[in-house]
Symmetry: C2
Subunit: 332 residues, 2 copies
């Protein structure tokens, strides 16, 4: 299928989204504007809401998968990670060689699971950095991925065609694509997503230990510092517990930095190291997009793409002309 | 002076604000609409900006203090805490028995300082829970305190007239007043303001250790979790280092909660205690104003007022008729 906005970019023929929560539902809504797209949810209520909103929904998972196999649709695992095992077994039975991705927030564990259960699927792990503390179909919207980052995983020896097809779809949904390995992805999100949730949860508890007066005095810093503690606990557990090794490393860095600050406060009374180090880190984060260089790569290898992503590169366009794939993006 | 909106409420005759940053400048702007108000800043540039904006500004600190003594103005310490020592010495010399408050974020240390340097001043410690990561006169605005909490400190044996006069002014500026002791204030803000800043700074550093890829993947939870790390480091140090004892307690609670979560993840793989406990704490915080009871107190003692504040009570009105002081507010 040809992208009308970027002639020469290939994408999937069709899309099947399994699970229609905030992310899965948004994928169905965004994909429907680009290719034939079908959704499925185990919840009759959700299927009804999606149908009422004008989207195409299958009632039976087997029917949906047989349709996906027949048209070579991209199958998107949009359900919680706890459902992957059952879904992958169904895929092995009814659409074993399908183009497959997921939107979960950990990538190594899923890659292993797919390799074990669905080894013939053309799988590329994915993770859109979008969505908030709300959940369910009611929180889905077609522009959820506009200008957001979408990680599309590659390993050194990956075959590129499946990646190109899938990453091309995310770009057409308005996202920007970061290519990296499952391992590097998991290490990064442990620091910038999983640990922030656990620190927000800890801070909320420290506040509560202060009694009613603490609630009266809580202002901006407590509000923003605990914001994501409102996320449903089972969603936080689902993403954090699976990323155990990388998250323990991030925990140890945080406990070390906070322990040094606590010790310095108790001994010398000074917090200069904590304040200066943390402030300059936040300023570096704020300035991360302030001096970008445009980059063009022709027929990059998967290793060149993951190096690009690991070095802070972000892909904004993919275009194919015959055997030539042109990748455009920005580098810091 | 009588409040035209609430007849019978006494307030100060006039106000002198020393230091015209975001908080001090906003106090000058808000007070100018209510009583004769004068500002002073050590910075000629700031004095010029305030004068250009139509506010009354003294060039000389001594002139300003002599004016304050002559009209029995409320003197507001709006400068950084590091400047208090020098300002208090000037006050002792030129306006020793003045009505005095401050807007700093720690209260026990200032109370001791005032007791030592300016023992004759009628001092009531204050702390408006307002202001953001910006600073300076440019960030000041007259409605900064609208609907915000303003702590106005009392000790068990405090005399109430000075407190009534000062708290009355904050109410007329649109704030809501929480009466508590300096000690309880310091313990609460350690948890809901000082520790949140230090955790934001630590989280920013943990993110930076993830390299350029981490910056690409940082989304909502990292953004909100590190927001206040953008605050000027010297302001964070100024408030945190002075509140050492209470902040160490808060640190130890946070390190304990995070350490248990880390240990549980490493041993059992489960984060259920961290997620459930933190989530219910955040939900309790979000619901803190959802079921308020209206309260009226007549001629309360300072002990009754601080008990009220420590129990989550918030004062929304003060009215005096002869010897009768009526305090209205809300309790959770």
């Amino acid at each position: 299928m040809t992208n009308p906005e970027s002639p020469g970019v290939t994408g999937p023929n069709a899309v099947l989204v399994l699970g229609l929560g905030q992310i899965g539902g948004s994928v169905l809504q965004a994909a429907s504007a680009i290719v034939p797209a079908v959704g499925w949810s185990p919840s009759q209520e959700t299927r009804g809401l999606a149908t009422d909103a004008g989207y195409t929904v299958h009632n039976e998972l087997v029917d949906a998968l047989e349709w996906a196999a027949s048209v070579d649709a991209l199958v998107v695992l949009g359900a919680p990670h706890t459902e992957y095992d059952g879904l992958l077994r169904k895929i092995t039975r009814h659409a074993p060689r399908v183009l497959l991705t997921d939107v979960g927030s950990v990538k190594q564990a899923v890659a292993q699971q797919v390799q074990t259960i669905t080894p013939e699927a053309r799988y590329i792990g994915g993770h859109p950095m979008a969505g908030g503390t709300e959940s369910g179909w009611a929180a889905a919207r077609p522009d959820l991925f506009q200008d957001r980052i979408w990680v599309s995983c590659l390993e050194r020896n990956s075959q590129l065609p499946a990646w190109e097809t899938i990453a091309g779809l995310w770009l057409r949904m308005g996202a920007r694509v970061v290519p990296t390995t499952a391992r590097e992805h998991d290490r990064a999100v442990a620091r910038v997503s999983h640990l922030p949730h656990l620190m927000a949860l800890a801070l909320a508890q420290v506040g509560q230990l202060g009694g009613p007066l603490a609630w009266s005095l809580a202002a901006g810093s407590f509000e923003s510092g605990t914001r994501v503690a409102a996320t449903r606990p089972e969603l936080i557990r689902a993403m954090c517990e699976v990323n155990r090794e990388a998250l323990i490393d991030a925990f140890d860095d945080a406990l070390g930095i906070m322990g040094v600050a606590r010790g310095s406060l108790a001994s010398t009374g000074s917090l200069i190291k904590a304040t200066d180090g943390g402030h300059s880190a936040r300023k570096a984060y704020e300035a991360r997009d302030s001096a970008l260089t445009e980059v063009t790569m022709t027929n990059p290898t998967s290793g060149e793409l993951t190096d690009f992503g690991d070095d802070g590169g972000i892909i904004t366009g993919l275009a194919r002309t015959g055997k030539k794939l042109t990748v455009t993006g920005t580098r810091r």
